[in-house]
Symmetry: C2
Subunit: 227 residues, 2 copies
DNA sequence: TCACTTGTTGTCCATTTGTTCAGGAGTCCG
DNA sequence: CGGACTCCTGAACAAATGGACAACAAGTGA
């Protein structure tokens, strides 16, 4: 009789003595990571339906069966990825507060998002794909967490507006504007590269983009670029 | 011997007397349209690899074989769609000239693009998908037509800047900003609806968005909203 | 070493996929 | 009507796909 595989439980390193005799291996952790990275590429390029386990396995340099040992099926693999990505996302974005300086806060927000586009373009594309496809997996997340997130920020911005500290623009639309314009550098990378006739992005391209966005959007909100 | 099908030739209605005895039917035209529309939905939702001919056929209410009679294979179907879309695209966007008023021109551009997002959300998503996937079919178009298009507009904007008629911002980045922020309303529809807790878009939502974008972006470029 | 868990993989399978094809139905004009 | 052309479609097929499984290898703590 074969043992039931541990079935894509969330990573649990340094979590001994939970009734288990052996700590679930470092091997597990390493391979899980390899596979998730491969999956990120494959899913970002082909979407959920278009991605194949075979391809992911090849990218990860493992046999298909082994991939299926770690993630018992395609669906779980896909959502495991988003767990990873959303966790990363949550870690980076700090809160804003009414007493913050609007110019500084917005500028930080924009720069952080551009930096995310630079460092994790695949995650960005993946997210974009998921949304375009109708967000079958993330609908709930959008409806709850993300809605709350936006509401919180928008409230603070509204406060700033009421206090006359920035121009009266719709805060929710402003968030969309920042999201879209910053993500664009990850999602539409190919288009931008072609139009600008470049082979690759460099750090300074992102800095330039961030400078541009900060300048235009802040001025658009009646703010001065912070020093 | 069966006749070779006319093999997805471009529509040719009202084009008689080219050696053919019968004008290539109106049936052809009607079904072609039905199929292309179904394909637009399917490809926009699942990407190139994820879309299936079977699904397209079902959406169009035709047997698979019939779909393949009109478009001999998946690839041709896919590019036929883009021919359609790019043609539509080209028809709508008028040129800008140095003697135009920057505020009016930019404002028109933004509003036109928002209107496109409203009227042809599927086309927008399709395009986004194609780019995210690395633009395997559109690379050439991006490299040539689109590059030229951007260069032309950017030059005019630079002229405006040189003449002191708008703030000195990078024109190419400005175009990207307008593209991304306007497309967002089509591509990320689901996200926006969820965050705003709505079931559907209405015309006035787009108007609101367009007003917001015109206001912020124009001000960001040191321009006054045109009356 | 032993007993047991975790990790690995080749093989198999039902289903789906893109595509071909042959034959037939429908349409149109003289 | 007849014949030329257009349109339609069920059947067939090789390749690919998601997944199940059983046998085996490697690791681990006692």
């Amino acid at each position: 009789m074969t043992k039931q595989p541990v079935a894509d439980a969330p990573s649990r390193i340094g979590h001994p003595g939970n009734g288990r005799k052996y700590r679930p291996g470092r091997i597990r952790e390493r391979n899980r990571e390899k596979i998730l990275q491969a999956a990120e590429q494959e899913f970002a390029q082909h979407g959920y339906k278009g991605a194949t386990i075979q391809n992911i396995a090849e990218r990860a340099g493992l046999p298909k069966s082994n991939v299926l040992y770690y993630f018992s099926n395609k669906k779980r693999m896909y959502s495991a990825m988003f767990d990873d990505i959303l966790a990363r996302w949550n870690k980076v974005f700090t809160d804003i507060r009414p007493e913050d300086d609007p110019a500084v806060a917005l500028s930080t927000f924009i720069r952080t998002k551009v930096e995310m586009s630079r460092r994790y373009p695949l995650a960005s594309r993946l997210f974009a794909m998921e949304i375009i496809q109708g967000a079958p997996f993330l609908l709930d997340h959008l409806r709850t967490n993300m809605r709350e997130w936006v509401r919180g920020r928008a409230e603070v911005m509204q406060q700033w507006i009421n206090d006359g500290r920035m121009a009266p623009v719709d805060p929710v639309q402003l968030i969309f504007l920042i999201w879209s314009s910053t993500q664009h550098y990850a999602d539409f990378q190919v288009q931008i590269l072609m139009v600008e006739n470049k082979a690759e992005y460099e750090k300074r391209d992102f800095d330039h983009a961030a400078d541009f966005l900060v300048e235009v959007i802040l001025r658009g909100c009646g703010l001065e670029k912070p020093t």
